[in-house]
Subunit: 458 residues, 2 copies
């Protein structure tokens, strides 16, 4: 077999990079559980008719076929899921009788899309989703809850003592607010107007204004839409600015109240690094949200687009008799991490979990070294025994290459530990000695200055 080459769009991580990812994922899982969210996983496949139910999303689905099966066989109707929302909605319907509502769940899994692997898009990537789903109705305080949980999670990702990612900006809006405003203005095609307003991301306002007029809006309607989209406040003061535009509609009132509630409910979680904004140009026009909508930008990496998006569905799932409304948000873990890992912004300080290398004098004493290692492990100290009885200098360099901070030697005076960073060597009792807590597990190093392209494997 010749040396294989990476598959474009299917990112894989080296061990030290993966250890950054697992620290991020376990931090998120911990936060979600602190807020009472239960973990589930769904199967990777769904029936094609489910995956294509909202046919216009133009998601590129991977279809499955068993190798030893003719086309049109039983499995021909299966495809890989392209998000975690479609499978979650199906799981809720399938297990409704066995779940307690409101049902809070988090789900961290890979999803697949057969898209062109460019512009930071992947064909296989990891998402971390939280959702709350109710039966029949779901009060709007759960929208606030979802925002609070994700702000808590993002705060820990940005905490230099934990991970130290750059800050985040959670941008919130409300579809009722937009739709009520547009309806109050007398606009008929709400979806098309939202779709054009969504382009403010990429096009100058004047161009979007021209497109709005081309779509059938009067000039003053277009101007009002652009004025609404310009409003962006860090608190509930957006309400006053919207009122000043002089549009009124019951749905607008409802949207304003919901968004103001959300901003006030999230205020205690805001910090210098993790902020929230009522940003009234956020519409997520291509999705099926019916109230709150979320997007999130990573400070200094705005070109990544929104790394954490979601919103409220009044009908996340329905079996015809019962409707299950939901609100949720999905963090694009690969979208956030893979570029930072490949640019060397994030690295781990070692490529193995071992905090200690147990040195080996000769092959005959391997079982004695194994015993020393087992004594360390009994105190939860990750360690490994040297692969071969090389000269001690070579064994130390073996540890250094992997980033292992300590080497444990058996000497005539009993076991001694060398901190290979300081060179300090002291006698220890392996039954009780443990390294300082900071050395027990790999840590993340954040490179703030230049971004060397080391460990680049994409």
């Amino acid at each position: 077999m010749a040396k294989p080459t990476p598959l474009s769009g299917f990112p894989e991580l080296l061990p030290a990079q993966r250890s950054v990812e697992t620290i991020v994922l376990s931090t998120l899982a911990k936060v979600f559980e602190l807020h009472g969210f239960a973990n589930i996983e769904t199967r990777a496949v769904e029936p094609m008719d489910q995956l294509l139910r909202k046919g216009d999303t133009s998601k590129e689905v991977y279809v499955l076929r068993r190798l030893q099966e003719e086309d049109g066989g039983k499995d021909a109707g299966l495809g890989l899921h392209f998000d975690l929302t479609v499978p979650f909605a199906r799981y809720v319907l399938e297990n409704a009788g066995k779940l307690e509502f409101p049902f809070r769940r988090y789900q961290i899994q890979k999803v697949w899309r057969g898209e062109r692997p460019q512009d930071g898009r992947y064909r296989e990537f990891t998402q971390a989703d939280i959702d709350v789903v109710g039966v029949g109705e779901l009060p709007v305080h759960h929208d606030v809850e979802i925002a609070r949980v994700m702000l808590d999670g993002l705060s820990r990702l940005a905490d230099p003592a934990l991970i130290g990612l750059p800050g985040f900006r959670l941008q919130v809006n409300n579809r009722k607010l937009i739709q009520g405003f547009y309806t109050g203005l007398g606009i008929a095609d709400l979806d098309e107007t939202m779709r054009l307003i969504d382009k403010l991301d990429k096009l100058p306002p004047a161009t979007v204004g021209e497109q709005l007029v081309a779509s059938g809006l009067r000039a003053e309607q277009a101007e009002s839409c652009l004025a609404l989209a310009r409003i962006c406040t860090p608190d509930d003061s957006f309400e006053e600015q919207v009122r000043a535009l002089g549009v009124s509609h019951p749905l607008l009132d409802e949207g304003l109240a919901e968004l103001a509630d959300l901003m006030r409910g999230c205020a205690p979680l805001v910090s210098a690094t993790v902020r929230i904004e009522a940003d009234l140009k956020i519409a997520r026009g291509l999705d099926y949200y019916t109230g709150t909508v979320f997007e999130t930008r990573l400070d200094g990496f705005e070109s990544l687009g929104s790394i954490c998006s979601g919103g409220r569905y009044d009908a996340l799932a329905s079996d015809g008799r019962t409707t299950y409304p939901g609100v949720g948000i999905s963090l694009g873990v690969s979208r956030l991490l893979v570029p930072l890992l490949n640019k060397g912004v994030l690295t781990a300080d070692r490529s193995v979990p071992s905090a200690v290398l147990v040195a080996l004098t000769d092959e005959e004493s391997r079982s004695a070294s194994d015993r020393l290692a087992d004594q360390l492990r009994a105190n939860d100290v990750p360690c490994e025994v040297a692969a071969s009885p090389q000269k001690f200098g070579k064994q130390i360099r073996y540890a250094e290459r992997r980033g292992i901070p300590y080497v444990l030697f058996a000497t005539d005076d009993g076991p001694q530990v060398k901190d290979i960073r300081s060179g300090e060597q002291v006698g220890v009792d392996p039954l009780t000695w443990t390294p300082p807590a900071a050395d027990l597990k790999p840590s993340i190093r954040v490179s703030t200055g230049s971004t060397p392209e080391r460990e680049k494997n994409q």
Copy 2:
């Protein structure tokens, strides 16, 4: 959408069942890291020519096709991996220049096989693999290491204080021992003989003996093969029993020495619940092992077959110039857990992570309840705020249904906590109070007597 029904062969878990699985997986991950194994994940897909490289394994591969793509497009050559060994071998070749050898890795991921979903076989299932891989050569002490790590992992799964699974029996043999013995007997077709000996699992020895003779062996050769397969010892005493059969061959000597080393190296890890046996009928005839081979039985659930298998490959991977030998073992997590979960042998004591329900007096005081909850979370206490301000009796029943042990009330005398199992209620300071450690996380309950079919969702 009508109520969906489960897909046969694609097991999914309810939240409480999933929490059993995550406890098992995190226990395994911890043990693997204590032994210095680094975690990696590989992409779910491999080129079809890689997946079919060992064509006669008759693994049913799922082939991928992009929906909007004609047959024969670029992705038509991709399939889902059916194990974690093929992708790991490819990963080692692809990243050889960036890895430190011997490279110890663990990998916990789903794999897919388009097999008939019967007899406890799944189409999607989770495996937990550990492997050590070297460059050019890999000393046999790594075979001992792999067995020691998995014994350590299984011991923790069987520890009643951690999980409390029934005991395990790790069965070990060595292909060199078998092949040396057969060659010493003058047998020509070693593979066919091993394949027939493998049937001792399901057929009586007399029948296997007849089939051996039918395959061309002389009666006394067949009898010697059966005599070797009958040997099964809990220590290195198998060696004497093999010698007594009077066969000699250099490869037999090598195999005997390797297996005896392994049995002695593992002795310190053996207990009443987790045992190891040199079982000379274990051949794993259909796989490509070249030395040590492993299988594992779960006590009382022998019908599940081997739930943890592996062995030594002298050429796990090769790029034509360099060969990478490896030794590893793969625990079939779904194969082990899904039947026990569906029979109700294993359950968790709650369906949510929350240890505390923060009660709600009225909607106006929600932000006060949120504040109390955030105080608990600051001390790592998972909790949730009641969904609605029902009567306290109803809020307590809400907690009970989910298995949440504590309810925190705001009273005129300050916050009080009720243990809803004992009914005891005491005043607490939410800034400092935490439940006892045993109540902080869901625990696994093992039902040893009858096995009620509750929470059955397969």
